[in-house]
């Protein structure tokens, strides 16, 4: 009987979460990001959208949330993450543009709920950095409680793809398999060869469709994806550290007429901030994470601030299932290192990552008609005393600190008793190099020591 009660309780909790009801958040301090700070202001959420923002709003049928003394901000967006996916690296080939992590979403990864508990409503689930051109990534909405992986896809978000420079692809392919690329020069050639191939692939199909040739070229999802990059249909997110390599990739992209690029990590971005700004490249960085391998020593905690001040659209990301839970603290570090204003700091985890993912017209700030992705904090989110209270995705409460039970797992192995943390971390290291260094099969050299970003 007691099991039944638990079962009912869980199902009621999830169903309640899923039921769409208008929500009126009263009297909060709204950190709108794009329209300043609004004290003692209400925000009404209806049909998954922000319906109105203003004082003394009334909505008779809405669920009322009293945010008196609380801070209400747009849901935090993480532009670099590996949570909630079952496969990260297809490390068998230096170019794997055809693979798509959206095919392997794991909606039961507890890391999603934990991210929600840190105010994060959207994460960019990325392919890893084993290959020069890795797979396509997926922008996820944290609709925790849904069973179908497709429910986590942010509908119509632009396509994105992972590129990688430097040591990781060199180590995996050059050292690991004795094939190209073995050097940074080799990595450049992977890009050039791939884009050149894609150009020819496009030409071959055009020639077939126009009737010039009668035999269709061999279909290749890889070449088609690369051609889509050339056509500007896919935003590149490139794992990068060293300034010289970043300049190299911008040169390559110029040669092929590609301009949608976000550099990830980009630890030496501060050296070439004006060049990045001129190219229109974006940067998604760690606040203060470095020295986990040789190419990441030349780093500074002022990186985000320097990039921002030089006009580069900059975000702060997690790349980690632990760090994603306190991105607000990560953003706050730019105030200590770089003296960014509150709004400049908050932009790093809201509207800027939204721009980088091509979804800034829908999320990233508190504006009417934007999607109702909201995080409510006790104390200012940039304060060390900040505590996330409630996280709303598309107008549905997915995290509520007052309804936060000990065990929030979605799927439980009925035959194996494992602590919640371990069970839900099966195979999820949520890391850039996941699935590559399988030496931890036996000797347990797990990559959690950050050296594999």
């Amino acid at each position: 009987m007691k099991y039944l009660i638990i079962s009912i309780f869980m199902s009621v909790w999830f169903n309640a979460a899923i039921a769409q009801k208008d929500i009126l958040i009263k009297n909060g301090t709204l950190l709108t990001i794009t329209d300043g700070v609004k004290e003692q202001t209400d925000i009404l959420l209806s049909n998954g959208k922000i319906k109105s923002i203003g004082k003394d709003l009334a909505a008779p049928n809405a669920k009322i949330i009293d945010a008196e003394g609380m801070f209400v901000m747009p849901g935090i967006i993480d532009a670099h993450s590996h949570i909630a996916i079952d496969a990260v690296n297809e490390a068998t080939n230096p170019v794997t543009a055809e693979v798509f992590v959206g095919d392997a979403i794991d909606p039961y990864d507890i890391a999603i709920y934990r991210a929600l508990a840190g105010g994060v409503t959207i994460s960019h689930a990325m392919h890893g950095s084993a290959n020069a051109i890795g797979g396509q990534c997926e922008t996820l909405k944290h609709r925790w409680g849904e069973s179908n992986p497709k429910a986590f896809v942010m509908e119509d978000a632009p396509r994105t793809i992972k590129f990688a420079l430097g040591e990781n692809p060199m180590r995996v392919h050059g050292e690991g398999k004795d094939i190209a690329p073995r050097t940074r020069m080799g990595i450049e050639q992977e890009f050039r060869r791939s884009f050149e191939g894609a150009k020819r692939y496009k030409q071959a199909w055009a020639s077939y469709h126009s009737g010039k040739t009668k035999k269709p070229p061999t279909y290749s999802l890889r070449m088609q994806t690369l051609a889509d990059i050339l056509d500007g249909k896919i935003i590149i997110h490139c794992h990068s550290y060293r300034a010289d390599e970043i300049l190299m990739l911008m040169n390559v992209l110029s040669d092929f007429g590609v301009n949608k690029i976000v550099f990830q990590h980009v630890n030496e971005g501060f050296k070439i901030a004006p060049e990045l700004a001129e190219f229109g490249a974006h940067a998604s960085v760690f606040s203060d994470w470095w020295a986990y391998k040789f190419e990441v020593y030349y780093s500074t905690a002022y990186n985000a601030a320097i990039l921002s001040k030089n006009g580069v659209i900059t975000s702060i990301n997690s790349d980690d299932a632990g760090l994603i839970r306190h991105l607000y603290h990560e953003a706050a570090k730019t105030q200590r290192y770089g003296r960014l204003s509150d709004n400049e700091a908050l932009k790093l985890i809201t509207i800027n990552p939204a721009i980088q993912l091509g979804i800034d017209d829908r999320v990233g700030s508190l504006e009417t008609n934007k999607e109702a992705d909201i995080a409510i904090f006790k104390n200012h989110p940039l304060s060390v005393y900040a505590i996330p209270q409630m996280t709303i995705v598309d107008g549905v409460i997915r995290f509520d600190i007052n309804e936060d039970m000990d065990d929030m797992r979605m799927e439980i192995n009925p035959e194996m008793m494992l602590p919640a943390f371990y069970e839900q971390n099966e195979g999820h290291e949520d890391k850039c190099m996941q699935g590559v260094h399988t030496d931890h099969h036996h000797n347990h050299h797990h990559s959690h020591s950050h050296h594999q970003h």
Binding site: Y3, E90, K150, L221, Y422, E426
Partner: protein
């Protein structure tokens, strides 16, 4: 195993003449001597013609492998072998939607050198849709014996290597030389990567499926145009993999896709929808909570027969009393256990037709699993359908098998008690024109004698090269072993796995690797021969990698 205690009614004149005309030879292989008659008569058995039909005591005659007569009372033909099955229960033989039994293991070709792991030959990549299970059929396999012992008389068999191992064959489980009921029909596929070669992960398997499908589609249509008028056209050059997929593209062939976890159900259905395939999911686990989705998507399902093993849940009562978190987790686990047990019942409630597949299932305890489903709400009729009429429809062989009807193949299972009501023993199975008597409890696996004690080398083929080490295996109790896994690169840090109990020559064990807060469950599944073993190692969600090894020394 054939019943030799049958009673001869009288000699037929024809057979006497035959005997007289046999030329005298110096040696006779008696195993080649045909049965004295190919007609069997079952007198006074409880006949369950089809699910939902009332059983009755009646007689059944089989001739040349077909049901010749079935009625409440008829006379035994003069030449019939009378089978003693008085008052036993007779059902149409069970039909298994997918198994890997009766198929020779395809050995990995060591000779194939792969310079670029990202571009392996199709064979290495696990893409061999042109291979036929019927070409790799092995009638002597212990797997077929296990299927018969569980009451399966028909099974769709397939190879198991890689993402697209080949075409299936629908066979009778007799193990005889010509067991085919249907061939070349369907394709088996799974989200199984090729270890260190492309495709290694599930995302690459899915991408590769899309490539193969589109390539096959384009080439097929080009080849057709070329055939009409080749003038000025480049020669088509379809590979045999492409050609083997033509029927899949045309939807003449159904893809039987292994979906052994809930997420893979979603993913396989997504692939089906993307490519507009005919698809049946096999080895399907607990899906009782997503029946709305399954109904909406019209998913064809072959459930894994195994229900959760309650004995695996060990409760630490001391901890239960003092550890609130532990108590809470245990409660939730019990809730899930209950839900999983109602899986089949939930599907029936939602009017979702399903059959069963035996691959990955615990066949030896099959009836326990079926009775457990019935105990947890599945109607006996639905269980009966899931083992007979539904799989027959799913495999497109319902004209031939699935019910006891005049003219259908004599594929029959006979039990001592009503199979869907109470604990019953399977006493006989008739399949492929042969009668098999089940000796007693269960048929012993031929390989049961393999003793795995000793020191073995192992190597795992991973995307990052070979990982090697030793298995030190000691028998701690009769039939129970302790395995100490000593990796070459960190011998100071071995893993010990206790109470490993081989099932025949199958040795499966699991352990959880944990280090500094990270854990990965490892499931190893191997087949041991006298001096070597091979199988696979599932490394959490990273993927499954081939493992093999050989005996270094036996214990002194």
């Amino acid at each position: 195993m054939k019943i030799l205690t049958c009673v001869w009614r009288k000699w037929s004149l024809a057979s006497i003449i035959c005997l007289l005309t046999i030329p005298v030879v110096s040696q006779v292989d008696y195993s080649q001597v045909p049965n004295p008659s190919n007609c069997y008569f079952f007198d006074n058995v409880m006949i369950h013609e089809a699910p939902g039909k009332t059983a009755y005591l009646g007689d059944l005659t089989i001739r040349n492998g077909l049901i010749e007569q079935i009625s409440r009372n008829h006379k035994a033909p003069f030449d019939a072998i009378k089978v003693k099955a008085d008052s036993m229960h007779m059902y149409a033989g069970f039909i298994d939607v997918l198994s890997h039994a009766g198929v020779k293991k395809v050995e990995k070709k060591e000779s194939i050198k792969v310079k670029f792991p990202g571009m392996p030959p199709d064979e290495v990549a696990g893409i061999t849709p042109y291979k036929l299970a019927s070409d790799h059929y092995d009638g002597s396999s212990t797997g077929l014996e296990a299927l018969r012992a569980a009451g399966f008389t028909t099974s769709q068999i397939s190879m198991d290597n890689g993402m697209m191992p080949g075409k299936t064959a629908i066979i009778n489980t007799s193990g005889n030389q010509n067991p085919l009921i249907a061939d070349h029909l369907n394709l088996f596929s799974q989200f199984k990567g090729a270890g260190q070669y492309y495709p290694s992960t599930i995302i690459a398997v899915i991408a590769k499926w899309k490539d193969l499908y589109n390539q096959s589609k384009n080439q097929q249509s080009y080849a057709a145009t070329y055939q009409k008028n080749a003038n000025g056209m480049e020669r088509p050059d379809p590979s045999k993999s492409m050609e083997a997929l033509y029927d899949v593209v045309n939807k003449k062939s159904t893809v039987f896709f292994k979906a052994n976890k809930k997420l893979n159900v979603y993913r396989a259905v997504e692939l089906r929808n993307d490519l507009n395939l005919n698809m049946v999911l096999t080895s399907v686990p607990y899906v009782g909570d997503i029946t709305d989705y399954l109904a909406k998507e019209r998913v064809s399902i072959a459930l894994n027969i195994s229900t959760p093993d309650t004995s695996k849940v060990k409760v630490d009562s001391t901890r239960l009393a003092e550890d609130k978190e532990y108590a809470g987790m245990l409660k939730r686990q019990q809730t899930y256990l209950a839900a999983h047990q109602q899986n089949a019942a939930d599907l029936e409630k939602a009017n979702i037709k399903f059959a069963f597949s035996s691959a990955d299932a615990e066949l030896a305890k099959m009836q326990d699993h079926i009775l457990s489903m019935i105990k947890h709400g599945l109607s006996p009729e639905a269980a009966h359908k899931a083992l007979t009429t539904y799989p027959a429809e799913m495999l497109g062989v319902n004209q031939l098998v699935g019910t006891l009807e005049k003219g259908k193949l004599a594929q029959i299972v006979i039990t001592d008690k009503a199979y869907f009501k109470e604990k019953a023993k399977i006493r006989m199975v008739f399949t492929g024109q042969e009668l098999f008597e089940m000796a007693g409890e269960t048929v012993k696996s031929k390989a049961a004698t393999v003793d795995i004690a000793g020191t073995w080398s192992y190597s795992v083929d991973t995307p990052d090269g070979e990982q090697k080490g030793l298995f030190k295996i000691a028998e701690t109790a009769k039939g129970s072993y302790t395995i100490v896994l000593v990796p070459d690169d960190s011998p100071e840090d071995p893993e010990t796995i206790n109470e490993v109990k081989p099932n025949g020559n199958k040795v499966d064990f699991s352990f959880v690797m944990s280090e500094e807060g990270f854990t990965v469950p490892i499931d190893v599944s191997t087949t041991f021969e006298e001096k070597s073993f091979s199988g696979s190692l599932q490394f959490g969600d990273f993927g499954s990698f081939p493992i093999k090894g050989s005996l270094l020394k036996k214990p002194e």
